[in-house]
Amino acid sequence: MVDRSNLEEGYPTLTAHEHWGRYSAGMITEALFILALTLIAFGLAVIAMAIW
């Protein structure tokens, strides 16, 4: 089993309630970034079909 004496003090706070707002905002930021890339790809497909 894990030797807990090696864990630094910060560890128990990883899942503390006060972090969840920032975690959620981070997750939404990532999803929006990916959806932006997806929209660019859709734009490329529209342009490609318009050209050919």
Binding site: G26, A41, L44, A48
Partner: protein, 500 residues
Amino acid sequence: MIVRPRREDHLVIATYTGKVIVGVGLLMLIPLAVSVAFAEWDTVVDFVISIAACMVFGFGVQYFFKTDKDLKWSHGLVVAAGSWIVATALGALPHFLSGHEGSYLDAMFDVMSGYTTTGLYLLQDLDHVSNGLNMWRHLLTYAGGQGIVVIALTFLFKGTAGAYKVYVGEGKDERLLPNVIQTARAIWLVSLVYLVVGTAALFAAGWWLGQGPARAFFHALWVFMGAWSTGGFAPQSYNTMWFHSLLYEVIAVVIFIAGSFNFAMHWAVWTGNRKEIVRNVETISFAITLTATTLIGTFWLGKIGVYSNAMSLFRKAFYNIASGHTTTGFSTIYSRAFVTQWGPIGLIATTIAMAIGASACSTGGGIKGIRMGVITKAFIQDIRRMVSPESAVVRAKYHHVRDVWLDDAVVRTAMTITIAYLSMYAIGAIVGALYGYDFVQAAFESVSAGSNTGLSCGVTSPLMPAVMKVMYILQQWLGRLEFMSVFALFGYGFAVLRGR
């Protein structure tokens, strides 16, 4: 002079390898529970035998090679590389006992593909595989994405000094937090939160599409695991094309691209530094190369008129190229369609995307965005140096969580690993061509195996020569561990044989 490893070295390596294998055996309890829940008694017996084999091996080596010594750097690398091989050999038992594999080599191929998050497979009649075995396939790839050593680090290792050395050997060398066990747990936190949210989104989509609740749940869970780990396994032989759903595809794209991001970048964004996503050298590199390869693929497919409208073109081109670039391996076209419909330019665009691959310290494979960014920056720096006055000091930096000065050592390391990847891709392609496959197709498949992607243009099959199966196993292993720990294992073996 090569120094022969001492008895103590063997003991340390065996002990830690044993711990990892116990972890693999414990992981099998999950598919065992699924088999029991679905009353798949043949599969239950397969997993009981396999768990027993893992426990006997794992506890056996820890008992017979008992030592209290901690790991050195070389030990850590050897344990990381060696335990993946032993875990593959023992993890293949449920596959082989299921009767869905043509040989034990095929079973090992599939398990290595799972651990390394590749996604190529030789398993036959996938549509009739038991739920327990399907759970095991996807759990393998989810665990492999985290790193099987990260799992052992989290639950089984004492101390952190030795543990960090094994962690690095598995191709993850970034500390999200000062303590390596905290780092492993932060990785788990990000992955588990995505697991809950991603599975819920896919479950809702599957249910809305008409799947029953149990089927929608398990498909959602398995597709999530295949996507997040950039593994590419899916529960149906038609892969994600089986769902025929734009909604399902968009959710999968968000999950597999997020899965391909560096955990350090995730952690920075999640802990409040949200601008990191548009400043990080890896996400910038990824956005540029993904858009470039999508542009080539989309315009080519538009020109040859394979798809009748912009939506179909977007869905097929972007999904499959993004899947290749993130080294996921999900596809919404038949394997042979890469050859018969996409043609050479489509194949080459996808091959380039796969070769570049995902981010470092992620679940993905390939050369990695950070190396592409570093090499490009170094190239620009050299050009600036050439056009600047001789006395000018030209320095460049790149941003990855913090600003890092670009020095020769960083560039040399990036170039060395990149050359190693390109050499591996080339060797695989040449071997495939020597066995009579078309060179472009052999290159596609070699890059797919070496970059741990899993897209196939039809070369990978149970009828493939055994030499190519072994070669792809080695490529998957080398690519996932980024060479160094595998070279350390070979060096260790050489030292045992020839050292003094």
